[in-house]
Symmetry: C2
Subunit: 337 residues, 2 copies
């Protein structure tokens, strides 16, 4: 259990009116892992806990795993269960934040209309909130990462899937039915034009997402041209490109060009001054450098600034803790609701 | 001189405190034509005037032509010059609405940093305002066209150039340096990937814009395969497609598919529920129908509604009149400013 960075601004601190419920949990429900963070009311991370949910697909089982993790975190911090002022979770999919319902997750989880907020409140007897994980990562970067003080920017989460958290005038833009930022399906030169079935990766994900990069590598792989295994991960392929392997460079350049086109398109539409690259694939320095090079060759009145996520894989967790503190304070402000 | 539709809501009426300045002028400065509309304080269009500005490129000359048109409109309506409560103009380019400066226009005009608001106030001795013409068209459609009551929609102006007027939460989204909606450069499958020099048409415009459609027609044209001239306009090509000419249908289908991809991309990013097709090319019914067909084949959680501009080529003018009435009222509210 380590003391980590203070994640939130003073304005986010839990109000001290109810001294019992002084801590919060932030949760990041990913396609493959469940990650939890325990923080005090000032946003200081007191501990983290994670587990694989590769074989745990239904929401009830995920909530039961969260119970296990929360209890472990509270125990290690010598806190009672009623120390929990609120819990907030990010889900990898389209989320109605008003109703607290995860409408649909990506092809990895297959959730449909899961009332996650109600499930969490029933399990933890504490106020709960849910949001899309990429939106939470954007909130995290804005509060404690590379986008501090930025009212207009786009956070790009590039892992297995690809999503955007769009901040405009200091607010997350969620769209008319909560699907804003679902850019994994974007069509740019080079992507497949074939219609995508629900549950399949999108056109952009097929080239820039983690699995897409693996596929591109496998398509090109030849034993005599590389020392890297055929089933290498995206990160390994990018590292190999930095070692000047021509095959790996080809895959990196394809991903970078395609991602640069997507950023260019978003930039034309929104005129956002800053793009933050996050997610396990997005934070690789080789990708950012290669994207910058492609963007630099284009005539754009606005060359958006590209920055690497400062919080890395913790961005979602930090955003969830911010949301949990906000939720705890709302409860304190109107305890009857 | 004809009495035309009442264009604005009551909330936009000129306040009657200053009875002399009871009328406004809205101006639409296009790449090829200058169009003016005279309206009373309730937004009733009293007269329209237009002239070619194909050979009039500099802003001072355009303002002198506006003087001529305004005088003609006032004369025909038997109004004195001091009846002018305000004037507002839409310019075909990137416009800083706070400073009243046209930062850059498309390749047709070549304006750079033109202080248009100051020029208009000096010429007309009345408060003036300027905005991007596509933004004004979006305002026009929202006040008096097909987007009435809509707080979230995208107006697509498709003529020689292509631009988007983005309305979110009832406000025009202008971007950090006023370039939001400059989608003529968007990259989708099938568009050229070659970097575009300043002053050249963008990738999307090369296939979906009026000149792009003419070029696509000329590339395919063969005397034995069509009765339509090689130098036909985009509208003529689309009409010819409706007459079942295979060459023209090929051009229409290419434009429709490319435009559908652009709409799909914008929709993924913004999750806007409504797209309004406007501009001389955009209002052609054959284009809208063909775009709908392509969009229908794609898996989108949100199938945005497509609607044809109700105001047609008047959308910009109606938006300019709305802005002029707003400007007149601001002046009345704080006469010293």
């Amino acid at each position: 259990m380590t003391q980590e960075r203070r994640v939130v601004l003073n304005s986010c601190e839990i109000n001290a009116q109810e001294p019992a419920a002084t801590h919060v949990i932030g949760a990041d429900i990913g396609g493959t892992n469940l990650r939890l963070g325990l923080a005090d009311g000032e946003g200081m991370m007191l501990g983290k806990w994670s587990t694989s949910i590769m074989r745990t697909r239904d929401a009830e089982s995920v909530v039961r795993l969260m119970r296990k993790g929360v209890d472990a975190l509270l125990r290690e911090a010598s806190l009672p269960r009623d120390a929990l002022g609120a819990i907030a979770a990010g889900a990898p999919g389209i989320t109605n934040v008003d109703k607290g319902v995860v409408i649909a997750t990506s092809y990895l989880m297959g959730w449909r209309d899961v009332p996650l907020r109600d499930l969490l409140e029933a399990e933890f007897k504490a106020p709960a909130a849910v949001d899309n994980d990429v939106n939470l990562a954007a909130i995290g970067e804005r509060r404690a990462g590379v986008a501090q003080g930025e009212d207009d920017f786009v956070f790009l989460a590039i892992g297995t899937g690809i999503g955007a958290g769009i901040v405009m005038n200091g607010q997350i833009h969620r769209g008319s039915i909560w699907t804003a930022g679902e850019i994994g399906y974007m069509l740019v030169p080079g992507t497949s034009e074939a219609p995508v079935e629900r549950g399949e990766p999108g056109a952009l994900e097929g080239i820039v997402g983690g699995e897409g990069i693996r596929n591109q590598w496998q398509k090109r792989w030849r034993e005599d041209l590389t020392t890297l295994a055929k089933d290498a991960t995206a990160t390994e392929v990018f590292n190999h490109a930095l070692e000047s392997n021509a095959l790996a460079q080809e895959v990196l350049e394809l991903a970078a060009r395609t991602l640069a086109y997507a950023i260019y398109n978003i930039s034309l539409i929104l005129n956002s001054p800053l793009f933050v690259l996050g997610g396990s694939v997005g934070i690789h320095p080789a990708l950012g450098d290669a994207v910058r090079q492609v963007l630099g060759q284009r005539q754009v009145r606005v060359q958006p600034k590209l920055a690497r996520s400062a919080l890395g894989v913790d961005a979602q967790l930090v955003g969830a803790i911010c949301l949990a503190i906000e939720t705890a304070n709302k409860k304190l402000a109107s305890p009857s609701s």
